[in-house]
């Protein structure tokens, strides 16, 4: 190959490396851009290897040389490929002809890492070393590792200072003239297949995560601790252990720590001073740091046992409410959100006020979830907060809050529900009806009856009317019974279709109430009127006869 061609191909390789360094960072490895870039880079190397068996690049601080030719130069401090290698001590990199695609990919992935952002204990040399490339070799100047260049000389001189005293040496020689005190031949200790099997088992055991073992030791240390500083240090370590366990999805370990601490907390022989440290650790478990990590794990798709998570939440305190609410709004998947809702349902009861602050969230789904949680908790103190949400701009929130208000009940709820019956959105109105039914107070009954009796009621859609009658059926008293019978009996000449709808709904409602006294009147009208009435009466009779 002509020299200039060789240089040109080398420069192409360098450019391909530079391009990959930017592109591979941005795309996942199954992305077509990623794959294409990798292919192109590999092809550049292949082009080079077509002519030469190895590509040896000499690294200077700001330049890269191929032979005596400079193939790269940069005076930048950032994005300087030469400096990137140079600063960790790499002085030469050689790519050999056998370079495989996956080797190149591994190499590029290492140089693509953003060492400024990624917290790592490894530099490029360590990462290259760990890969143990067959076809990428590098020369490192270990002078960068030198702490004290004179140390070797000084240490050797010191060690050699005590020279052998000839007299002692000769004494040793003379005294050694005795009979043999060692066997002439000793066989090597043989290793059996059983030993090997035992070793394999050792490795299998060793592959398990170490956090459990460390926690066990930390508790031993806790028992051995003597000073305030000991307890303070151990608190910090146990907090780190909890965070680490959660971050790595090992919720069981975190739960075990908390459960053991709880036992200590309940131990009367332990001083209040130590209990303060224990409480601090337990509070940390519910901190934003830990709960954020929990969120990351939940959203990562890692399989987390719900029961284990529930157990973990049991040990948390109310300080975990806000962090949980924060991740509730950030989680991308539905399943983790359900898990967090369960957690907040447990924790929320410890501080309704804090939980209710979630109702002010700007994201509708967070507000709806908080309402759902408040409803599940069932604490009537939540009503005042919920009432402020009834006029929320999102109907999905309105429906949820109406439902919650219905279940929580109370005098304050009625007015809001009555107003909701006039909401422009039918689903909201239906929710309000159901809620009033759930409240099942006299006032609620009155509101529904008044609405049905209102002259505009007949103009409502049939489905909505049906919900009204379904709601009123919750009151199984005489007043409602008579009211329904009166509607059933009512015949009109004008607007008979709308009236028939009311009569059909009344029949339906009588069936729901379950009072068999209604059978007479139902049977009386079963062959009369429209097909709609007949159908609903028939259903009601069947229901009553079979109850």
């Amino acid at each position: 190959m002509e020299m200039n061609e060789e240089i040109k191909t080398t420069k192409d390789v360098i450019q391909a490396i530079l391009k990959s360094k930017k592109i591979l960072r941005m795309y996942p490895d199954n992305n077509p851009v990623y794959i294409k870039n990798l292919e192109e880079a590999y092809n550049k190397f292949r082009e080079f290897f077509y002519y030469s068996d190895e590509l040896k690049l000499k690294i200077k601080q700001n330049e890269i040389y191929y032979g005596s030719e400079q193939v790269y130069v940069s005076s930048e401090k950032e994005d300087n490929l030469a400096l990137f290698f140079f600063k960790d001590g790499i002085r030469e990199i050689t790519f050999k002809k056998g370079l495989a695609n996956d080797e190149l990919e591994a190499f590029l992935m290492i140089i693509t890492l953003d060492f400024d952002v990624k917290v790592t204990d490894d530099d490029i040399v360590t990462l290259f070393w760990e890969k143990d490339f067959q076809n990428i070799q590098y020369v490192v100047d270990d002078a960068v590792l030198m702490d004290d260049e004179d140390y070797e000389t000084v240490a050797i001189n010191e060690a050699k200072t005590q020279t052998n005293e000839p007299d002692f040496l000769m004494k040793a020689y003379e005294e050694a003239f005795h009979e043999r005190d060692v066997p002439e031949e000793t066989s090597i200790i043989p290793l059996s297949d059983k030993d090997l099997q035992a070793l394999i088992e050792e490795f299998e055991k060793d592959a398990q995560a170490k956090i459990g073992k460390l926690v066990s030791i930390l508790f031993e240390m806790l028992y051995l601790a003597e000073t305030r500083q000991d307890f303070e240090d151990l608190s910090g370590f146990l907090m780190s252990a909890i965070d680490y366990a959660v971050l790595h999805g090992d919720i069981q370990i975190a739960t075990d720590i908390l459960s053991r601490l709880k036992v200590l907390l309940e131990n009367k022989n332990i001083s209040d001073e130590i209990k303060k440290f224990i409480k601090k650790i337990m509070l940390f478990a519910g901190s934003e740091t830990v709960i954020n990590h929990l969120g990351e794990i939940l959203d990562s798709g890692q399989d987390i046992d719900e029961k284990t998570l529930d157990d973990f939440v049991i040990y948390l305190d109310k300080n975990a409410i806000l962090p949980f609410m924060k991740i509730l709004g950030e989680l991308k998947n539905i399943h983790p959100r359900k898990i967090v809702i369960n957690a907040l349902t447990h924790l929320g009861s410890k501080d309704i006020l804090v939980l209710s602050s979630g109702l002010n969230d700007t994201r509708w789904y967070v507000v709806r979830n908080i309402i759902h949680i408040l409803r599940k908790i069932g604490d009537k103190r939540a009503v005042d907060f919920l009432l402020k949400t009834v006029k929320h701009g999102d109907n999905r929130v309105k429906i949820e809050v109406i439902r919650a208000l219905g279940e929580l009940g109370g005098a304050g709820v009625i007015i809001a529900l009555r107003e909701a019956l006039d909401d422009p959105e039918v689903q909201v109105r239906i929710a309000a009806l159901k809620a009033l039914g759930a409240v099942s107070s006299e006032a609620a009954k009155r509101i529904i009856l008044d609405k049905i009796m209102n002259k505009t009621f007949k103009d409502k859609e049939f489905d909505e009317k049906k919900f009204y009658f379904e709601a009123i059926a919750k009151w199984r008293d005489k007043e409602v019974f008579d009211f329904l019978v009166s509607i059933l009996k009512k015949k009109t000449f004008f607007g008979s279709t709308k009236n028939d709808e009311n009569r059909a709904c009344a029949a339906y409602s009588l069936g729901l109430i379950g009072n068999k006294d209604a059978l007479n009147i139902l049977n009386k009208y079963k062959n009369e009127g429209s097909k709609l009435i007949q159908e609903f009466i028939y259903t009601a009779i069947r229901r009553l006869e079979h109850e």
Binding site: D121, A155, A159, Q162, L169, K171, A176, L191, L196
Partner: protein, 468 residues
């Protein structure tokens, strides 16, 4: 060649070596015409021919303790360990360094090779006999084991290893001082140093082990930490631990005594035996070590392993050591490895609790007694195989009336290491003459054998003068 083909080739190469070991092993019991052997031989033929379809020749070479095929080091997993080790020994017994296969092999070629391989060691010149028996076979060529000569290159290697060793000690001193003053420690640097240690152990184990035999330095604690690292890595390598894990093991070992930074210097460096109160302080260093390590950096696997080993390295497998714990669980694998290395280095050093350093062979005897109670018996088996019956630094009296110092152990013949002579048979002090105790005279008798071991401390023999 595609990546997959490369991987297949490597897998096949590994299987070929394994299969050769199986044939050799079986052939030591049965004749080459035995059905089992015949089947294994035909397997080898087909495996090698498959490789020969891709490559024009297959060159299997033994370098040190490692096999290479066509210049590629063949790595193997634990399941292959016994067979690979066995074949290394068998190659060495025959002075066999390489086997080259070419063309397409026939069953008869491998049968001849096997017969020659089995009968060769019974002669004085096993390699020559082997070669003669193979002369008729065109498709297989053998080469003699390359002797490790003390040339300029190996001198450079020695220099490099010495430099790495002292750099590690100097860095350890820096780390310990930083730990003591609560400063930030550069783990990246420590890792790089440990990687270089791992490389040296993989390539030049004996040289680096030799560095651990010198105990006459002033700064015992730092040398001890590095020595324990080296011994742990060397043992880990024997166990088949991966390179990356060996670095972790080295780091864990390096930090095992971090807690000693908190022991008051007047106690740590006390020239006489400890009082009960001083012992109480000393016994706290595992806990202090754990605490110091956990404060060094955020929690990760390496930090946890280091902290665990620091806490457990004096506990003993039967929990008779310290600290005493309520819940007696099995010690971590790294803790047990470090514990072995720690005990060995401590017993053979002069500035430890007992104050009286032991010669290496005596230390091993004591450890042998502790094996199964305090020390892990399985790991100890590997450990003693690693350091040899006469570890480097053992002062030996030979039956030739020469006094010498073991400079390199022999894995095949543990009682026949390489020895640096320091006094000749006339009683004169000499230097620079290294002899191999496997050397035999014309009557097939060993020229020299070890008769007695000498305690170098008793006679103030300074090993540094010879080993550095």
């Amino acid at each position: 060649m595609s990546d997959k083909e490369n991987m297949d080739l490597h897998k096949n190469a590994k299987d070929v070596i394994n299969q050769i070991a199986i044939v050799v092993r079986t052939s030591q019991i049965h004749d080459a015409n035995n059905v089992a052997i015949a089947s294994s031989i035909s397997k080898i033929v087909s495996m090698i021919n498959m490789l020969l379809d891709k490559e024009s020749i297959i060159h299997l070479e033994l370098r040190g303790e490692l096999f290479y095929i066509n210049e590629y080091r063949i790595r193997y997993s634990l399941e292959y360990l016994l067979n690979f080790d066995f074949l290394v020994r068998e190659f060495k017994k025959r002075d066999l360094g390489s086997v080259t296969f070419k063309n397409q092999l026939k069953t008869e070629d491998i049968k001849t090779f096997t017969r020659a391989f089995i009968t060769a060691p019974f002669s004085d010149e096993p390699f020559d006999v082997f070669q003669e028996k193979m002369s008729a076979i065109q498709n297989i060529e053998i080469g003699r084991l390359k002797k490790i000569v003390e040339d300029e290159d190996s001198f450079d290697v020695r220099k490099m290893i010495k430099r790495s060793y002292f750099n590690a000690v100097s860095h350890t001193r820096g780390i310990m001082n930083k730990v003591k003053s609560g400063e930030k420690v550069n783990i990246k640097k420590a890792k790089r140093i440990m990687e270089s240690m791992v490389d040296h152990i993989l390539e030049e184990e004996q040289l680096l082990l030799g560095m651990t035999a010198i105990k006459d330095y002033d700064e015992y604690t730092y040398h001890h930490s590095v020595n324990v690292s080296i011994l742990s890595i060397a043992l880990g390598q024997r166990l088949g631990i991966s390179r990356k894990m060996l670095t972790e093991l080295g780091m864990v070992a390096l930090f095992h005594d971090t807690g000693k930074t908190e022991v008051p210097p007047e106690v740590l460096n006390k020239p006489t035996n400890f009082t009960d109160d001083e012992w109480k302080i000393i016994k706290k260093h595992p806990m202090w070590g754990l605490r110091a390590i956990l404060k060094l950096k955020n929690l990760d696997e390496l930090t946890m392993k280091s902290a665990i080993a620091s806490f457990e390295h004096h506990m003993n497998i039967d929990h008779t050591g310290y600290p005493t714990v309520r819940l007696k669980t099995e010690l971590d694998l790294f803790s047990r490895i470090v514990s072995l290395a720690d005990q060995y280095d401590a017993m053979t050093s002069s500035r430890v609790y007992s104050r009286t350093p032991l010669p290496p062979d005596k230390a091993l005897s004591i450890m042998m007694e502790r094996s199964g109670t305090q020390l892990d018996p399985l790991l100890f088996k590997f450990f003693i195989n690693m350091v040899g019956v006469y570890p480097i630094g053992t002062v030996v009296m030979l039956d030739s009336k020469e006094l010498g110092l073991v400079t390199e152990s022999n894995q095949i013949f543990p009682t026949r290491p390489r020895v640096l002579l320091i006094i000749d048979r006339q009683g004169n002090r000499i230097t620079g003459n290294i002899v191999d105790l496997t050397e035999k005279d014309e009557q097939d008798h060993y020229v020299r054998s070890i008769m007695k071991t000498i305690d170098p401390n008793k006679y103030k023999i300074n090993l540094a003068e010879y080993l550095l």
